[in-house]
């Protein structure tokens, strides 16, 4: 698989943040969201984004979670190219063959780790830090 991913790419999110089995607290980003994530695509994009802005790639988990495709949701179709672009630009060391796995196994899980390790206010602070730098 090349570095260029399409919306049909299949990834997965940890079950703890899946719509079916996940924790409500995680599904609302510790209460920052007015409603829970619907579908795994947006959850995954948000987790990966958090991992990117915090530069956290500490967690790599290859366990199969809740699968999704980025085209599953009309809204996510609009944003996953921005994510893939940013991931590619910020992680040039990741080769084309590892690109999809890097997102699936490392960024999504590390982002989830950010959610689980921080409170709502801390998440705000992380976002503010990213925006204000």
């Amino acid at each position: 698989m090349s570095k260029k991913l399409s919306g049909n790419t299949t990834h997965s999110i940890p079950r703890r943040i899946s719509s079916e089995l996940g924790n409500k607290d995680f599904l609302t980003l510790r209460g920052l969201l007015d409603k829970e994530f619907s579908g795994g695509a947006m959850t995954a994009i948000m987790c990966a984004t958090l991992a990117l802005i915090t530069e956290n790639t500490s967690v790599t988990d290859s366990d199969e979670g809740s699968k999704f495709r980025y085209n599953d949701n009309e809204r996510t179709r609009e944003v996953f190219p921005s994510l893939f672009y940013a991931v590619g630009r910020m992680n040039p060391q990741v080769g084309d063959e590892d690109f999809a796995r890097f997102i699936d196994h490392t960024l999504i899980n590390s982002g989830f780790d950010v959610i689980t390790r921080n409170t709502a206010i801390e998440l705000c602070d992380l976002m503010l830090k990213a925006l204000e730098n």
């Binding site: 209460g31 990117l52 944003v79 921005s82």
Partner: protein
């Protein structure tokens, strides 16, 4: 027994207008003057001499200032109404008969300056004063004292004649009957009856509580006692509950706590609301992700390249163009490079500066809302950790309200209990009063019965006494009229009338005309109080003489000139009759001519103030009273 006494001397000290004087009623040879005249002008002191003798006999009417012999009237005028010394009068008497000076009786009455009552001392000759003997002699010489006012049956003046006229013409209490002590029992009985009448009226006026009320009051009392007993039990219960449920927090503290809690709760609600308003909307996440990635790329110094391939597959296009062979390989390779270098649509990452600012503000606001929500939540948790939860507050408030209600109930109950106890006390007092009044009523009934029975008895008794008095008066007047007729027969010179006793309807004396048997009643002159007409006056004088004779008094008859309508021959006969019958006479007159009417006169004592300045004293006494 001595028949009568003659006056030997009269010694006066501080009595009316006389400071000091001694009048001797003996002649120069010390012979007794049995029949004498005291004469002198009006105001000379004749009446003073009579009063002095009379006062010596009967004393002063203490306190009765209106009476002629009241204490203050005795004082010399210069004393100014206050007694400034002792007052005394001494009469020396000698029994008629063969008696010498050793038998003389000295009657001395003294009213000391500081004394309450005057005193009479009677001594015989040189003997010492003996109180009991004094009383005996007093009775012998002066007779019974009169019941009303001053006077003695041996003094006959206008006043005595007036009262005698009332006696023999009317039925009311009078001098004559008083002297006989007739009306006294009747008066006492009248007073007793009056007392009984008062008792009957007083008891009759009393409004005794009805004993019929007792069963009703008893029932009320028992019912009230039951209510009180129940109320007391209820009171005990309430007190116990109140003691066991005293609120730990007062209502004020509770209110403050509730306000604090409500405030915190409101803050929490507000924070929740604010948070809800500021939470990230799910449809905004696409924009947020773009802004975050854009900002991160920017901060990492990675420029975002515009992208052309968001919608096209540049490799497919280059392959197609190669197949057409219209383009050089360089062109088609460049087109292929486009796909390599810019494989993703980056339009979402470009030009996000403005959005970034908006997101910063938005996330800050979200953070503030989150912070407020956390703080208010913590505040409520703190309050709850000290026991202030909404549920607790409601429970405490409910307990407090109940406590207040029970306290109010206790207050009301205590007040009702107090009122009922007071009411019970009133009922018990009323019951006691009725029971006590039963006893008193019973006693009063006995008193009433006794008074009514006594009155019945008294009415009968008084009727009997009045009847007896009436009869006694008739009997007395019957006996007296005989002596009156005796004196009348001797004294009367005209022989036109004769005294008569009229028995009915009112026993009284009158005169019967000898020629036509008509009756002439004694008429009183309303202005002077004296009887009008010589016959009427003579009838009164004769009655006075008859009464004096029966009174037992042994004093010389003192006859004041009170018979102005009696003709001269009759007066002459009157004087001679009295002097002979009573063996002594003191005739007092201010008419020279009348003074000479007495036959066998032993002397004329002339009373004159011609040579006396103001008061008679030891120096001028002889000038005041001179024997002629």
């Amino acid at each position: 027994m001595v028949d009568r006494y003659n006056l030997i001397s009269l010694r006066v000290h501080n009595f009316m207008g006389v400071e000091q004087s001694e009048i001797k009623f003996t002649d120069q040879e010390k012979n007794l003057r049995k029949v004498m005249t005291i004469t002198g002008h009006q105001g000379g002191g004749k009446s003073t001499i009579i009063f002095a003798i009379q006062w010596c006999a009967y004393g002063t009417s203490i306190g009765a200032t209106s009476r002629r012999l009241s204490r203050t009237r005795l004082y010399p005028g210069k004393w100014g109404g206050k007694q400034l010394g002792d007052i005394s009068v001494t009469i020396r008497l000698r029994p008629v008969g063969d008696y010498g000076p050793d038998s003389d009786i000295f009657c001395k009455r003294v009213l000391h300056e500081d004394g309450e009552l005057d005193s009479l001392q009677v001594t015989i000759g040189p003997d010492n004063f003996d109180e009991i003997e004094s009383k005996n002699y007093f009775r012998q010489i002066f007779g019974k004292p009169p019941q009303i006012e001053q006077g003695a049956m041996w003094v006959i003046r206008k006043e005595e004649m007036q009262r005698m006229a009332e006696t023999i013409t009317k039925t009311k209490s009078s001098y004559f009957l008083d002297f006989m002590n007739l009306d006294v029992p009747l008066n006492v009985l009248s007073e007793l009856k009056s007392d009984n009448d008062n008792t009957i009226e007083r008891i009759g006026r009393k409004n005794w509580p009805s004993v019929h009320q007792l069963p009703i009051l008893d029932a009320s009392r028992n019912s009230l006692r039951d209510v009180i007993r129940e109320d007391k039990m209820e009171e005990e219960k309430l007190i116990k509950w109140i003691n066991e449920n005293k609120p730990q927090k007062t209502q004020k503290d509770l209110q403050e706590a509730k306000e604090t809690f409500d405030k915190a709760k409101q803050k929490f609600v507000d924070a929740e609301k604010s948070l809800s308003e500021n939470r990230l909307r799910r449809d905004e996440l696409v924009d947020l992700v773009n802004v975050l990635l854009s900002a991160k790329l920017d901060s990492s110094g990675i420029p975002v390249e515009p992208s052309f391939n968001s919608k096209y597959d540049w490799e497919d296009i280059a392959s197609y163009l190669e197949k057409t062979r219209r383009f050089t390989p360089n062109v088609t390779n460049s087109i292929k490079e486009l796909a390599k270098s810019s494989g993703y649509d980056t339009s979402g990452l470009l030009d996000r500066q403005e959005s970034k600012e908006e997101w910063i503000a938005k996330i800050r606001e979200l953070r503030r809302a989150l912070n407020d929500q956390i703080n208010s939540t913590n505040e409520i948790r703190q309050l709850e950790s000290i026991g202030l939860t909404q549920e607790n507050l409601q429970e405490i408030s409910r307990t407090n309200l109940e406590f207040e209600k029970k306290t109010k109930d206790l207050g009301k109950l205590s007040e009702r209990l107090s009122q009922n106890l007071e009411k019970l006390s009133g009922i018990e007092s009323e019951i006691k009063k009725i029971r006590r009044s039963e006893t008193n009523e019973s006693k009063d009934k006995i008193k009433l019965d006794l008074a009514e029975r006594q009155n019945n008895l008294l009415n009968g008794l008084m009727d009997s006494i009045e009847e007896a008095n009436h009869q006694y008066k008739i009997d007395l007047l019957s006996q007296t009229i005989k002596r009156v007729k005796y004196f009348w027969d001797i004294i009367d010179q005209r022989r036109e009338y004769v005294p008569l006793l009229i028995e009915t309807p009112t026993p009284q004396f009158a005169l019967e005309n000898l020629s036509d048997s008509s009756v002439r009643y004694v008429q009183l002159d309303s202005s002077t109080g004296t009887a009008s007409g010589g016959e009427s006056q003579l009838l009164l004088i004769c009655t006075c003489l008859a009464v004096s004779e029966s009174s037992g008094a042994k004093m010389p008859i003192i006859l004041d000139d009170c018979f102005t309508d009696v003709d001269e021959p009759t007066v002459k006969k009157l004087l001679s009759t009295v002097s002979e019958h009573f063996n002594s006479l003191i005739f007092v007159t201010n008419y020279e001519a009348k003074a000479k009417l007495i036959q066998n006169n032993d002397g004329v004592l002339r009373i004159s103030r011609d040579h006396v300045d103001t008061y008679v004293n030891a120096k001028n006494s002889e000038n005041w009273a001179k024997w002629e």
